[in-house]
């Protein structure tokens, strides 16, 4: 707990700074809200249009699919508010050499890099996505166990998503322009928007093992639909452990390779 205290203090202060910034720049705030509203609409509409023409997609009906859509939407909301700005910031700092200052701070560098910027505006619409998730959960008669397990499964799935993307973001140390790793990351989110059964076997295998972007959406929701499938949670736990080790290994490798642009 003593070791954790400075980290919690830093996070608290950063959150306060972000809120102060949010209140100060109202145009940015409105624009960010606009992005979130558009993201929700553009996630909902294509699936809605599809279900005008088909009764079911794979084993899921419209309500089940919408539950999946808003599960992902909640995840993207948290991701955009807490993690995503840091990925973009990392590539900029590598390019400009500003990363040096982070490496010199008396804090875990990965922690500092990944919590430097928050965007609370993106979190303001989280209740809308959560509300719709609960609405569709009620529509599909989600079991009591599933409701109880939902927060834990969500956190686990979110952790899998963040760790996978963290490893991809570290690619910025190897790509010269900087932002391309973020584009790879964004493409992974496109893959994640659809359930695993919509992909051919080989792609499914790849996106659940090598680059497990399908775990956080499909496995998380799959477990809530059928709580006897505890193996799905097991896969996510394994992914968290493996990608934690991988991230620490890649980070050490990347730092050894890093040539500061400012020095």
């Amino acid at each position: 707990m003593t070791r954790m205290r400075p980290y919690i203090g830093v996070m608290h202060q950063q959150m306060l700074n972000s809120v102060a910034k949010l209140i100060s720049f109202r145009v940015s705030f409105v624009l960010l809200m606009m992005v979130e509203v558009t993201a929700i609409c553009t996630a909902y509409l294509p699936v809605n249009f599809l279900f005008h023409h088909v009764e079911q997609l794979g084993p899921w009906n419209r309500e089940q699919f919408m539950f999946f859509v808003f599960w992902n939407q909640c995840m993207f909301c948290c991701h955009n508010g807490l993690i995503a700005p840091n990925f973009w910031n990392l590539s900029t700092e590598i390019r400009t050499g500003a990363l040096d200052f982070r490496l010199l701070r008396p804090l875990g560098s990965v922690f500092d890099v990944m919590t430097a910027i928050n965007r609370p505006a993106s979190l303001i619409l989280l209740p809308v996505s959560v509300g719709l998730l609960i609405y569709y959960g009620i529509q599909i008669n989600l079991s009591v166990t599933a409701w109880i397990m939902l927060p834990f499964t969500f956190c686990l799935a979110f952790l899998v998503m963040c760790l996978t993307e963290l490893n991809i973001a570290f690619l910025s140390f190897w790509t010269k322009g900087g932002d391309s790793a973020n584009f790879v990351r964004m493409q992974c989110q496109q893959v994640q928007r659809w359930p695993d059964f919509m992909y051919p076997a080989r792609s499914r295998m790849m996106f659940t093992t090598v680059l497990p972007v399908l775990l956080s959406g499909s496995f998380g929701v799959g477990f809530l639909f059928d709580t006897s499938r505890i193996d799905l949670v097991g896969y996510m736990l394994v992914a968290v452990v493996v990608f934690c080790f991988l991230a620490s290994f890649v980070w050490r490798l990347a730092i050894r390779r890093y040539e500061s642009a400012s020095s």
Partner: protein, 268 residues
């Protein structure tokens, strides 16, 4: 005078070409990978929708037609809406356009030359991709007339996209986060231009509403031209594109001049 101007253009285009091609991995990951992933996801999902439920057709599209539609979407996207104007907003924010303002070559011309260089590279990528697609049977070979018509419309739409990007980039005169507007427009385009779901599958009221917007021009119409299923004449489509380009160019000019009036460069 004219040869002098031409020399500036060719020099800027060749510089932009070499800049674009210097970091090939970045170029691939940033500009070619997104539409590629998009089409792979779309292709896989549509194949699954048809195969799992043994559907004969969805919204008038058979399985083969839908899969071909997704492949042509990739080609249209590469040519029509791949260009990005990050540089412009960054140049404005960091005060780098000051140098441009002193050069005997306008900012608009410099960025247009850069866009032309980008399109040249994209044309090569499209030629290569199309040969692979036709060779592997993903799309059937099309007549030269159809191909030329499709490429012409895509290039014209590409210029329309460039004017949109220029307007969004110029917003950086007022706000730091001009990328937000670009992102919103990108979200809307991906959904409403008929990229993943053809416009024919949208509700009737939305199909009618979209006719009065540039969205169908950005994906659906070029794809239908390639597929030979476009009902409007080429002349009508090109007229529509030109009208939208004129509107957006006017907007770009207006935004640029207003922005320039309040521009104070960093470091001045």
């Amino acid at each position: 005078m004219l040869s002098n101007e031409l020399k500036k253009w060719t020099k800027t285009i060749s510089m932009a070409l070499s800049r674009t091609m210097t970091y090939k991995l970045d170029f691939f990951l940033t500009l070619t990978l997104p539409p590629l992933v998009f089409v792979l996801v779309s292709y896989a999902i549509w194949a699954q929708i048809f195969d799992r439920h043994h559907l004969q057709s969805v919204g008038g599209f058979t399985r083969d037609e839908m899969l071909r539609y997704q492949c042509w979407t990739f080609i249209a996207t590469l040519l029509a809406r791949s260009h990005r104007s990050w540089n412009l907003s960054e140049d404005i924010r960091f005060g780098r356009i000051t140098a441009f303002l002193l050069y005997p070559f306008s900012v608009w011309s410099a960025y247009t030359a850069e866009f032309i260089a980008f399109q040249v590279v994209q044309l090569f990528i499209v030629a290569l991709t199309l040969s692979v697609m036709i060779g592997s049977g993903l799309v059937p070979a099309v007549s030269i007339d159809t191909l030329l018509a499709g490429v012409c419309v895509c290039l014209a739409v590409g210029f329309l996209w460039f004017t949109f990007e220029f307007v969004f980039g110029s917003i950086a005169f007022w706000i730091d986060e001009s990328w937000i507007l670009r992102l919103v427009f990108f979200f809307l385009t991906t959904t409403l231009s008929g990229g993943f779901i053809p416009i024919e599958l949208f509700p009737q009221w939305l199909q009618v509403a979209l006719q009065y917007t540039p969205f169908p021009l950005l994906t659906s119409i070029p794809v239908h031209i390639f597929m030979g299923t476009q009902r409007d004449t080429l002349l009508l489509i090109l007229t529509q594109v030109i009208v939208w380009i004129s509107v957006m160019a006017l907007c770009a000019q207006c935004v640029w001049h207003r922005g320039l009036r309040q521009y104070t460069a960093a470091g001045m």
